[in-house]
Symmetry: C2
Subunit: 688 residues, 2 copies
Amino acid sequence: MPEAELIDHAGLDSAVYLRIYLLGLKIFVPIFVLTWAILIPVNWTNNTLEHSTETYSEVDKLSISNIPHKSPRFWAHVAMAYVVTIWTCFMLKKEYETIANMRFYFLQSEKHRPDQFTVLVKNVPPDAHESVSEMVQLFFLVNHHDNYLTHQVVCNANKLAKLVKTKRKKQNWLDYYHIKYSKNPSKRPMMKTGFHGLWGAKVDAIEHHEAEIEKLTNQIAEERTNVMNNPKAIVPAAFVSFKTRLGAAVCAQTQQVRNPTLWLTEWAPEPRDVYWKNLAIPHVSLTIRKVTMGVAFFFLTFFFMIPITFVQSLANIEGIEKAAPFLKPIIHIKPIKSFIQGFLPGIALKIFLILLPKLLMAMSKFEGFMSKSRLERRSASRYYLFNFVNVFLGSIIAGAAFEQLNTFLNQSANRIPEIIGIAIPMKATFFITYIMVDGWSGTAGEILRLKQLIIYHLKNIFLVKTERDREKAMNPGTIGFNTGEPQIQFYFLIGLVYAVVTPLLIPFILIFFGLAFVVFRHQIINVYNPKYESRAAFWPDVHGRVITALIVSQVLLMGLLSTKHAAATTPVLLALPVLTIGFHIYCKGRFEPAFTRYPLQEAMNKDTLDRVREPNLNMNLKGYLENAYIHPVFKDDDFDDEDALHLDHGAPVVPTKRQSRQNTPTRSRTSNGSAPSLPEIVEEKHKP
Amino acid sequence: MPEAELIDHAGLDSAVYLRIYLLGLKIFVPIFVLTWAILIPVNWTNNTLEHSTETYSEVDKLSISNIPHKSPRFWAHVAMAYVVTIWTCFMLKKEYETIANMRFYFLQSEKHRPDQFTVLVKNVPPDAHESVSEMVQLFFLVNHHDNYLTHQVVCNANKLAKLVKTKRKKQNWLDYYHIKYSKNPSKRPMMKTGFHGLWGAKVDAIEHHEAEIEKLTNQIAEERTNVMNNPKAIVPAAFVSFKTRLGAAVCAQTQQVRNPTLWLTEWAPEPRDVYWKNLAIPHVSLTIRKVTMGVAFFFLTFFFMIPITFVQSLANIEGIEKAAPFLKPIIHIKPIKSFIQGFLPGIALKIFLILLPKLLMAMSKFEGFMSKSRLERRSASRYYLFNFVNVFLGSIIAGAAFEQLNTFLNQSANRIPEIIGIAIPMKATFFITYIMVDGWSGTAGEILRLKQLIIYHLKNIFLVKTERDREKAMNPGTIGFNTGEPQIQFYFLIGLVYAVVTPLLIPFILIFFGLAFVVFRHQIINVYNPKYESRAAFWPDVHGRVITALIVSQVLLMGLLSTKHAAATTPVLLALPVLTIGFHIYCKGRFEPAFTRYPLQEAMNKDTLDRVREPNLNMNLKGYLENAYIHPVFKDDDFDDEDALHLDHGAPVVPTKRQSRQNTPTRSRTSNGSAPSLPEIVEEKHKP
């Protein structure tokens, strides 16, 4: 499947996501060839390690450790560091350029989509005499009178959405009991009313649920009228639509009033991408939330080991004996004892690490981002930072992160890279194992979807009650940018750090990138189901993290070489991070605006083309835009879970051929049928 | 004179400049009262210094040095640090708000000014088939067709301006010789053709100059046609004017094309403020220039002492004897010897410090800023940094800056504030002397304008040849933002650092601010002649530097207290810089856009008002804007020096009652005569 078709099929996000793996290959293949051709012989033809008293492995003989102090051979490593930097930057720039152009091309080739005409206006100032809707209309009629078309106010429908969700659950239970009853008509199904059906009075399940649903339906109707009519349920924000893309682009990029914290305008996310819950967060609290989460993340990163160590100290034989002496006879039974001793200490950490992405996502949600793509991007960058501190630094300098923090605060600034630099070559074998265990087997597991298979079957046994439940359990999910991308970035980091120090590691990285590319390409084409389309808005983050990895590698090499008494190389190496930062600033200025702004010329071109192609567009536009950004809960009650809540109702704007399984076929009118229709294949594949 | 009248008379820039002194008073008067009421008694009622073996002065007895280690009294200082921070931030916020509002009010009350309708477009992409002018017209007709009015391309007229300047000089000499000849008709004035008339063939001066002027006139005419017709003389930049302020505001705030480095738009500086020379600098070289100057400034700040020490080592008796043995008999004459010994070593440093602002200004010009206000702002911030490193840190930790740099690099990060903190209280007397010598006497000298008087008389004796020369020599100049503001900021820094440590110093600061306010108010009303009006665009810089001073003071207090074994106070103090940075970020977001952007609502309001008040404005607007941004050299040849070159031709837009002395009276048509006309008074005052 060529790239154009892939974009058509799975969206730009997925296609660009695959390019991260390709970028890895493009960067590391030439580095692999060069370092093996040059550095391996340079390192090998020494005998420092043989003459030293330290123990060493064959891997070390091929690494920079094998070169004696003050050797002029270090210049080869310095030169290679330059080559690595220049090549990486060159590839990064080319890729950034390509992806910026892909994004523009995608924007130009898309059909009308509401987000192209719409601006999200936040922090509309309160007014005693006028409603938010009137304020918005008046303001835009006055200040954008040529282009203003319509607007939709945002309601705080979180409570309503919750009620609808509860009703759906009850409905599901009702269906389940109906099935149960039809299978065994002799016995009315009974249930307990207490917590999760564990205790309480026994009642007839079908009657109970029918009554509950009845009650909820009334509550929903009430809440719905309340939300619609109560001015207090209207959030001071609105989606304002314009007649032209130009009008929207102008509004999104300009300051509206004197006070730059009022009437904030930004390019609206596409309807599927809106995270409705957060639209109701008052704007003033956003800064506080951001700071709180920043501090919380700092403590999470550096001090998460403290509670885990505490749990671990409890979770051993003596701890349990002390805390609960009555368990003593049980835990001294042989198999239980060995289970506790062997498994329990690690399990707290393991559980924490499994929950971490969810925790980070919850933190991002608390921070108040208004689109799912932003949520995932923020979670991804935090996950990367966490991995950097706790996996990368944590593996190199043994010791918990808060101990490192203490060491670093009490060390002079230029000792820090040295401390880490010395440890780097010694850890090469550890990271090779890490790549094989985490990278290779993880990727192989992905294609088998073992985890999903197990979870699916577990769900099937314990949770699935009706057909709808089975469908939900079968949802193949998405790429998972918030966990997947930081993982890739971690391999970029290891690869760049070890490229010069221990070139032996590079092929392991290459195999990872190659394998992952093939696997994820397959998964994207056949399995995943994208939740939204952000038009590759994540690329600046990807680029920035590779640059970070590059700078880290340069600083660590500098630290390492300064301990090798190769002082002459330091000033030469010092130029590298400076140049890299310069390169980053250049790229930021040159390419980043492509991912945040809609240039007027592009908007104008597309408007003009539209006018020529569809002269009566403007008449239809209002009807099309009027309800594009309505809270999904108002469209109909018939939605399942949170995902469906946002996925279903973006239907008129679905840009890809892939249809959500929960979508009705009538909604695929935007497909133009040029590619083989894959949803059926997927449907087939996933039938249990 | 109330403030409104002052703005009317001298412009917003000057009025806001005065408010910096007022801000100083507002911040330090309550601090003075509080610290003297609380900290002085707290410090005085100890006898640590009396019991110690160190020498101490009475000033030290009133300072924090007099408090014994681990004393709970330090909490008074910590509390006071909080009070100082909160009060300073409160005043800063109030002031920022006031000035942002003043700026908006000024913008709303101004008459039409070309910069409100105009956008400076930079980096117009080259095209093989079309000229820059055609490109600009086409682009804006297509993408801003509703609002585009006219445009003026920018010519590289630097050579022409130079020729015109030379001609003016020769003309002046010719006038001089004419006067000389008319006074003594018996003798034709003669001159030598060589360098500055020092050697070469003797010729008749009048004839020679007439011939030269003739030649130059031809050259100018030739160059003028060249610039007008040669497409290569057209710089890829243009001033694009719009029909409405809204159109200009939209264009200035949006990205025009895909490539964010092409068709760069920004709010045009007012015509007087344009620094024409730099418009011809190719856009690509700007980054390189910026980096070069950044590096150059770093070396200038940290290593300027090296060449000066070298000069000083030469400029002593032995050095001169060695370098030029033939001078030996002369330099051993008693008065010459003592002059050399006493004066010469310091003179290199003195000359350097006098030339420093000019050097920094030249660096800013090299960096390529396009308006004089930006040039002055950049010079000011560099001058402040230089003073901070070399005067403030340099006085506290004796030793040249590059030695400090070395110390800091080899120290752990949290030792640095301690090193400086310990030294702070000891240097209080030095800074008191500094305030008196530099601040008080400098301000007193300013009102007497002694320096200017001396320079004027020196010029009168040596340089003035004609009436025009005398006028030039009499130019009272401007406030000198690039040197004046960093000086004020230095007193903010000292004041904030010593507020808690040695409160005795505060009244000296107060006297400086009071004195300077009175003096500069007088000078602004009666003497200075503003070159341009940037509408207080410098306030974000002023605000930022006070914040910097605040943070420096907090960090140093933390360092000082940690050496006093008052470890319990450190975490409490640690919150201060964090809070201050938070406050700064808040202010930046809340107020800074007021100084860089023109909100659409404001532009729209003003447009609407205009349309009501002057319905036929649009017809006149084109004629008014068509030539507003023409290079002054094209308007007429009749200009004097560089200042006049930019000052003269902004006449239709002069916003203040004060007229440049070089302006002809007919140009004062924008004055509306509501305030007493002061130019005459000034004129009177300066008649020799």
